[in-house]
């Protein structure tokens, strides 16, 4: 798209916004004009971005985003150090924490294996995971139920099992409140595979 009709700083802003995930050039233009019309909102947004960028880094143990290193979860003595839950993204940690079900520690891979996009083990926090296995009894895979997520779980299981670590995967099944008849065959097969005694 051509922004040459705008003054350069405005065009730059639109281009920068349109690089954000999920934002097309049209939305970027709308946001840019909004920010120019609301100087206070623009100022506080600029400040928040700068502050987050300057103070948030990756935890040196679990690779989650944090403002202190190690992060609050890794430093919490009441959490079970012998069980690690592997997730793709920092936002997945937040989703799991909301449930208050998991008492162990996390490890954030920052993605999953995607050979077609050129993303292999070296592009993920795999070495960081292998370096922190002392005293770990179980590793729970909580990756997205996609082909790439599954491939990543299988890959990590192959690395971890020879070390005598139990590798488990969270159950994949039917969404709560969904009708069984609307579920697809893969989901139903997975749900059957993960059945439990009542």
């Amino acid at each position: 798209m051509n922004f040459l009709q705008y003054p350069r700083p405005l065009a730059d802003l639109i281009v920068a916004l349109s690089r954000l995930p999920g934002i097309g050039p049209k939305t970027a233009g709308r946001l840019a004009f909004y920010l120019l019309q609301q100087p206070e909102a623009a100022e506080s947004l600029a400040q928040a971005i700068r502050e987050a960028k300057d103070t948030i880094s990756q935890c040196s143990i679990c690779c989650n985003f944090t403002d202190v290193d190690p992060c609050g979860i890794c430093e919490n003595p009441s959490r079970d150090q012998s069980i690690l839950c592997v997730v793709e993204q920092p936002r997945d940690v937040a989703a799991l924490e909301k449930t208050r079900e998991f008492k162990g520690l996390y490890h954030v891979l920052h993605g999953c294996l995607s050979p077609m996009e050129g993303i292999g083990p070296d592009q993920l926090k795999v070495q960081e995971l292998l370096r922190r296995l002392e005293g770990v009894r179980e590793v729970v895979m909580a990756l997205n139920p996609t082909v790439e997520g599954e491939a990543t779980s299988l890959y990590l299981a192959k690395l971890l099992k020879p070390l005598g670590i139990m590798v488990t995967r969270i159950a994949h099944g039917l969404p709560v409140g969904g009708d069984l008849e609307y579920a697809d065959e893969v989901t139903i097969a997975r749900a059957l595979e993960g059945r439990r005694q009542l």
Partner: protein
Amino acid sequence: MAVYHADALVIRSREYGESDRLLTLFSREMGKLQALAKGVRKPKSRQRAAAQLFTYGEYLLHRGRTLDTVNEASPKESFPHLWNDYDRTLAATRVAELLDMATIPGQIYPEAFTLTLTVFFLLEHFDPYLLQGAYALRLLRLLGYAPRLGECSECGGALCGPRLFISSAAGGALCLTCREQYAGRWISAGSMALMRQLLNGEMRKLDRLRWNAMMQQEILETLRAYCEETFERKLKSWQMGSAAVEGGGQDRDGKEGST
């Protein structure tokens, strides 16, 4: 035609926006298409399964101004074996990437569609990397790049010696005299013979073929270079070794096939 129908394989599925996926579909009737599957990363979406990589299904697509979108989709086959085994996932990924690289939108490839679908089914039981090799050679042939592997591609003369020369620029193997004019690579006569079988043998009997780790590596490397040179693009997933997992390739050596 605002709405149209496609019988297609998902050969690429990328996260897009907040909760969508951008699919590359390879269809029987229309060749390669891109379509946006909206909301399919939410657990309640009914099109979630059909938007997963390597799914074969029926898609009802709506023509959009910039991007077509998936209106309805029903998966016919989701190939669970391509989810449950790392080597099979990798081989299928390499098949999909090669197909994506070698084809252009707006052209139809009914035979390549059938070949790809067949390979996805055969991946359940066959050596995944043998299939990958056979696929590459057969796709090259379907697209008009059939490599000549039985005689010199330049003069038609006989090939001899324990090491043979192959060049994508020449379109196949070369004799000792003709090879001087071409860039290419040396491979063992055994690998060349196996490649001939991968290209010409009956698809359903491919699993009777045997190779060792060295031949596997030599053949897949040769085919990667051959395809990259032919289509002038890099094959990312072909460079990512299966050796990333120790013993992943060796597990299958000498395993009995379905014969």
